[in-house]
């Protein structure tokens, strides 16, 4: 999962909902998608761990 990309999508949904230019079907769909993203991001924050790997660099 890419937190950055999902978060961007969430920002876009918020903007669209805020603009008031959506029709009702679209607004409900966006709202549901937004809630789903928030849940995914919340799960990520609770569970994700950093992973460090050493790479082998050759000197030229």
């Amino acid at each position: 999962m890419n937190y950055h990309k999902l978060n961007e999508e969430l920002d876009k949904i918020l903007d669209e909902l805020q603009s008031g230019e959506l029709d009702i079907d679209e607004a409900v769909k966006k709202y549901e998608r937004g809630q789903k993203i928030v849940s995914e991001l919340e799960t990520y924050l609770k569970t994700a761990k950093n992973k460090v790997t050493k790479v082998k660099v050759k000197l030229s």
């Binding site: 969430l10 949904i13 918020l14 008031g20 991001l41 569970t47 994700a48 460090v52 050493k54 660099v57």
Partner: protein
């Protein structure tokens, strides 16, 4: 006293041709001094054909000649700087004794600063530090290439803060030396490794802790600064020091004051982020209820408008209908009877002319209020 033969020559000494002497001498030098490190003041510095370096290092009483390639330059130099030069002493077949340069480092705070200032002016003129070149780092990144010493406190601090603030980041560490003579080459190799990777990280973090001017010298070298500036991957350089900003930091897309600060700038804090997400949830709910309320209000307005339009139509039709009714009423034959006219029928047939009736015939006369019979006279 050395033993001397009859001709006056020293006994047991080999007699050599000039080239042989140069070869033997160089072999001996190579055996005894494969490499030497000399510190002295730079003088008679010149570059020939953009390729070759010639200079002397001197102190109060002596001066030694050096020769090398421009690739050994740490950056622009000028006479008067104190340098530490590593090289191989040798006797050139034509030009005499010199030291073949392997590496050059300015030493002493004054010289380091002066060399950095010269390099900064050169690179600034080339536009390497131009603010327009700076890219925005993805926030937060999912993959980081870290160029640091795996043993350093800087590395430990960076990882500690990263783990405390955020999760799910893949951190690839290029474990390199960040001080000493081989540090610039290693840092460059680390940055290049990530840039050439098939799946490059989203951000490169190049970091080390604080130290004296000489410890940080690698980050003021031309090669490191250029590689940072040329990186395809956006860069963050974090050197833990307070006084001067290194050239590598100037060339980076973003700089951080310490390794911990780098982690703080790279990723959000998850507790703050959780609060933000909670707010986003509420905001979305509010926006949607706002929209629903607007639509309801619109619907009510539309219903009222519709009712109004329909009642206007109804009124129009009612008016038209009543006008038609009046016309119809006026055209009703009964209405004419009321004005004194009568309808005459004979045997149920309407009598239109006197020719239709004869004397004594019975006719039916209809007035507006009733009928009666009469006989024709």
């Amino acid at each position: 006293m050395l033993p001397v033969d009859k001709t006056g020559q020293v006994a047991d000494l080999p007699i050599l041709g000039v080239s042989d002497f140069v070869a033997v001498f160089n072999q001996t030098l190579e055996f005894v001094y494969p490499s030497v490190i000399i510190v002295g003041e730079l003088s008679s510095f010149r570059i020939s054909k953009n390729k070759w370096l010639y200079f002397d290092l001197k102190d109060e009483t002596a001066s030694v000649k050096f020769f090398g390639s421009v690739y050994a330059l740490p950056g622009p130099l000028e006479d008067g700087l104190m340098l530490q030069v590593r090289g191989a002493p040798r006797l050139h077949p034509q030009f005499g004794f010199n030291i073949n340069v392997q590496s050059i480092q300015p030493v002493g705070e004054g010289s380091l600063k002066r060399a950095a200032a010269l390099l900064e002016a050169k690179l600034r003129a080339e536009g390497l530090f131009n603010p327009a070149r700076k890219r925005v780092l993805p926030y937060p990144p999912s993959k980081i290439g870290l160029v640091a010493s795996g043993e350093s406190a800087a590395y430990a601090d960076f990882i500690k803060i990263m783990n405390a603030r955020w999760g799910g980041v893949e951190i690839n560490l290029a474990d390199v030396q960040v001080q000493g003579e081989s540090a610039p080459d290693q840092i460059v190799a680390g940055i290049q490794y990530f840039n050439q990777s098939a799946q490059p990280p989203e951000v490169l973090v190049i970091t080390r802790g604080g130290g004296g001017a000489e410890d940080l010298a690698s980050f003021n070298t031309e090669q490191v600064t250029r590689v940072v500036a040329a990186s395809r991957i956006p860069t963050m350089v974090a050197i833990g020091h307070e006084v001067d900003i290194s050239l590598a930091e100037l060339a980076a897309d973003q700089r951080a004051s310490t390794p911990s600060n780098a982690a703080e700038l790279l990723v959000p804090d998850k507790i703050t982020e959780q609060k933000r997400l909670k707010n986003v949830r509420i905001q979305m709910g509010q926006h949607l209820s706002g929209l629903v309320a607007d639509w309801q209000a619109n619907l009510i307005t539309s219903a009222v408008e519709l009712e109004h339009v329909i009642s206007q139509y109804l009124q129009r039709y009612t008016d038209e209908l009543s006008a038609k009714r009046n016309i119809l009423a006026a055209l009703n034959p009964e209405a004419i009877l009321r004005r004194g006219y009568a309808i005459v029928r004979k045997g149920g047939v309407l009598v239109r002319t006197t020719n239709q009736i004869k004397k004594s015939e019975l006719i039916d006369i209809k007035l507006h209020d009733g009928n009666f019979n009469a006989r024709v006279e």
